[in-house]
Point group: none
Chain length 226, copies 4
DNA sequence: TATGAATGAGTGTTCATTCAT
DNA sequence: GATGAATGAACACTCATTCAT
């Protein structure tokens, strides 16, 4: 853990990030630590002080990189979301065969299976994250989101011939809604878990991936069948 | 402190709710005031003290009726949700004609149009409300939810002949997800509103009712077209 | 638990205490339940509501018998203290043989061994109990205490020939101090218990009865040796 | 908020305690203010907010120095107790003449005469202070207490030739008990004060120093006379 | 850039006690 | 006498954020 031999501090990070690459590295470090904490607990339970400590930095330093807690987590969401978009893009474009709805639905749902943090954060986007963030950051996020949606939307329209112009992005909007909605339904509180354990409660137990696949498949079939 | 009824008292309710009906009335009063505050602001901004004050009661009195803030709001959600279920049920059953997917989608979406508080609360169900609530209350809620889902689900299966056995409740699960997801997407933070005002941001501006109608219609068509 | 067959209530107590003996019985019942709760927990943890419930009475009823929580517990202390005085008196007077200091010390300490509640309450007498009590109750308590002290004090002076006039009560004052002081030292908080578990901490671990016996024996020998 | 030193600031301490000595000074300041409030009222009446205000600090700042109210007061007790121990030690060692019981008793009792806060806090040690304190703080306190007891105990054994090995600390335990017990008996509640004003109540009126001297003298004589 | 001491707004909940019935 | 609904004062502690150094 000690990377500065001879120095008293136990800090892993460099003392001062002068170069842009150092700053970027430190930024990533903070995001990584925030993610680790968030994945293990919840937004409310993640303290800025803990993020700082885990990153080997002082509390105040975090605020040099992210002006608010919401800004930090919006940046984290941005990272996760657009990296997922990129991976989805790559995954989809690998396939030369013509796309089918069920295949697409499965692909999307599977690509989200391990992205619990992403989908959890997505569900807090408007309610929490965008509540205490600069217009600039919000704009940047929305612009990138728009761009990605238009890009993937165009891709969908190109490869799913039953999609009419403009329907690609719309599918993504509905996907977004399904993802955040199902994520919340699937993340059950301890009390509820106990209640849902009864066999007859089965209809209320939500399997995120299964339901997302099913709903998305049906949705696409609905578009195809017109 | 008000001993001269009619002089300063603004409440019709008796000073002390001794009979069960009085207690029920007071309970409703508290729920109503909580709803009014919530509709105007947000969960976090509603203070138990304000609810009490608006109801003309002392702070401690609220806790005679609801053991925690979460319990109060879960009870509120319960009220709104099951009264909506009942209204939807009535609305649907009025129609003698055979149901169609688009008609159903429109009916459901329209019936939810004015239910902003309901859908906002629904989105907090697992994340917030069920976090600090007795197992009993949670169980009661889930049981009623299950019952309603099975009931409406059966209705769907009976009137939409393309639905296979067991698909009624599943449609409702997907509806639930869409509702909470779209609600969150539609409730835009002030900063975001500013950003979304740009014309080119149109694809990111969500009209709750329109999108819910569209998505649900498509979903049902997808089921019909098999 | 139901002693009034046919009545809906589960109350063990009579509906109304009209006769003085009924009232006295109810009073004792309340004291007994308060004692049971106190012995198992602590003063702060005993709720008036719990006392009422255990006694099968309504919350408000307790206050018909004891105007304040402190009054209830002072009454309880009174009961325990003077019943102990009586028992001590009896025990001491049984012995025909001339008294000795060590024998007396042992007798007293042993008679207090099982009286944890009494000694715990005694330690709260001035700090807590007498803080919220009527002058009448306080006077009554002090008068009885004085009387008992004078009585037992006189007994001591009569049977321990080394005691000079007026020293009997004084011995009792010192006894009182030792009892409350040692009781507090012996009642160790959980954190402290952990700390005191270390072998080298032995000198700080207090055995109430042993220390009381030792101190009292020494004290009496000190008086005898003049 | 005070940025013009000398204008409104009543404090000599720097705005920010950066050096260890500044921090220690601030810590002492808080302890002093807490002591002032406690001496004038009671533990329950001292509010952390008041301590902060008197120290010219924000509420939260107090918790940077003491994690809980109990921790603050245990630290205060620690200060008072060990400073008293030191003063007692000095006082006792000044005397070259061989010690006698009566002299020692008088010395101890007199040295405690002005230490009302110390003895009052001592009586709350196990009941209150150690209830909400870290194991570390508790251990530290007990270790110091043990050390002091062994030290003073050894001193006693060395200078009072009638003490057998191991009896020094035990005398201190009995002293501790007498001190806390007598302190509680001497601190009379307002109601009780009224009652005790009657001439015939004289035997119940406790003079802390007088009784402590008497009891301790007798106790030591008891040890001497074997 | 980095630090970390200081800030201070923010609140749900308990429970002894009262009093209308 | 009994009830139990209503009262309302009371309060330590957290943590995102700032800013002097």
């Amino acid at each position: 853990m000690v990377s500065n031999p001879g120095v008293k501090g136990e800090r892993a990070a460099p003392q001062r990030a002068r170069k842009d690459e150092d700053k970027e590295a430190r930024r990533r470090l903070l995001l990584d630590e925030a993610l680790a904490l968030y994945a293990a607990t919840s937004y409310a339970e993640v303290k800025m002080a803990d993020v700082a400590e885990r990153a080997g930095l002082a509390k105040g330093t975090v605020f040099l990189y992210f002006p608010t807690k919401e800004a930090l987590f919006l940046a984290l969401l941005e990272d996760l979301l657009f990296s997922w978009f990129a991976r989805l893009d790559a995954r989809l474009c690998q396939s030369d065969a013509p796309w089918t709805g069920p295949w697409l639905a499965r692909s999307v749902a599977q690509s989200l299976e391990a992205e619990t943090s992403l989908t959890r954060l997505l569900a807090m986007l408007q309610t929490v994250l965008e509540q205490n963030v600069s217009v600039e950051q919000a704009r940047r996020f929305k612009e990138r989101l728009l761009q990605a949606m238009l890009h993937i939307g165009a891709l969908l329209e190109a490869r799913l011939d039953f999609l009419k112009p403009g329907e690609g992005p719309r599918v993504l909007v509905h996907l977004h809604a399904l993802v955040t909605g199902l994520r919340q339904m699937a993340d059950v509180a301890p009390v509820a878990r106990e209640v849902l354990a009864s066999p007859h409660m089965a209809p209320l137990r939500i399997d995120f991936t299964a339901e997302l696949t099913a709903a998305l498949t049906t949705l696409l079939r609905g578009l195809e069948s017109r």
